[in-house]
Symmetry: C2
Subunit: 205 residues, 2 copies
């Protein structure tokens, strides 16, 4: 084993398969047999780690939250480029990912959010907390962009961070529907343009 | 029977149940037994009208498209108020609807869009066509707002109509996740503000 290779446990493999299946088809459509098949883990081991499909689903949300947060950090905390460029790099990275998976995988939070009527309050709270975490990191990036003079000095970064995630989830959905990166580009261009430093009347109103 | 009451056919009742179930939980989770139970239609009649669940699903999309288009027209072609107010009225109406259904029902196009990995090309094309129809009507409303001087004279109404539906689908999703109208309000306020007539630098760039 290479010195840096981390040992992959059965639990890791189960969670990875769960994330892949939930980003494609959501929670309800995820069948246990498929999780076992994709992870190569026997049923008995699954129940050693998770008491039920629900317990597994919540653990998959947590794993995805961490995975995606690290991805976001990788772009949004990259100090080699300007803060606004970091956000654009995140979007470009996501665009490449969507293309790589042939627009079949979306956002796990978006998929499970659409299933809210069938999922219980535990899921809802967990997903809401994930979004808040992403929003907070995005807000920090917008504050840095503000300090760098890249976006309007008076805009409410908390509101714009929320606006970003509202629109971005919609853009991912439209990209899946159109099998095209255009909705992501169109949203991102509009979002960035709406924060320009020269737009005083918008933000002072 | 009251003179204006239109006779409801078994087919209408099946489609109505299908729309309700798909706006809640999407297509894959919709079980035929539930459709029959909610519509009070026997299984034999279902197969008289629809050869398969897929055929039913496509017919549900068409029925929802027409239902929602009429709803959109009701707001966006209401000449008693200004064009921009029409769009705001549509959003307010949708907000009330989400509240009335306790944030359990979303948009059928959004729900099925999230399921794209599991649905075939016929679904995708049908859903894309529905969105294009809504975008076209929205663009007409934005053009009228432009003529009335309510939004910037040079903005690209086709692009803004697309931007609206990208963000709006995201807002519906976030409203479901947060069980709150705030995401819809936040998106709408930001969208309207970004179109202001005074925002020349944005649209001339």
């Amino acid at each position: 084993m290479a010195p840096h290779a981390k040992k992959t446990t059965a639990k890791d493999r189960l969670l990875r398969a769960g994330m892949a299946l939930c980003t494609e088809g959501g929670f309800q459509a995820m069948r246990l047999e498929k999780v076992l098949q994709q992870s190569g883990v026997p049923k008995g081991s699954f129940y050693h780690y998770f008491s039920s499909k629900k317990a597994f689903g919540l653990a998959v949300i947590d794993a995805y939250s961490d995975y995606f947060y690290a991805k976001l950090q990788h772009s949004l905390e990259d100090e080699t480029v300007s803060p606004l460029q970091r956000l654009k790099n995140f979007a470009q990275d996501a665009e490449n990912g969507m293309q790589r998976h042939n627009y079949l995988r979306g956002c796990l939070v978006g998929n499970l959010g659409q299933e809210m009527a069938a999922l219980d309050e535990d899921f809802r709270q967990r997903l809401e907390a994930v979004l808040k975490r992403w929003e907070a990191l995005t807000q920090q990036c917008l504050q840095a962009a503000q300090q760098a003079g890249e976006i309007h000095a008076k805009l409410d970064t908390a509101q714009f961070a929320q606006f970003f995630w509202i629109g971005w989830e919609g853009a991912i959905l439209h990209a899946k529907l159109r099998r095209s990166p255009l909705p992501m580009q169109l949203f991102m261009d509009g979002f960035v343009a709406s924060m320009r430093p020269s737009l005083a009347p918008y933000h002072n109103a």
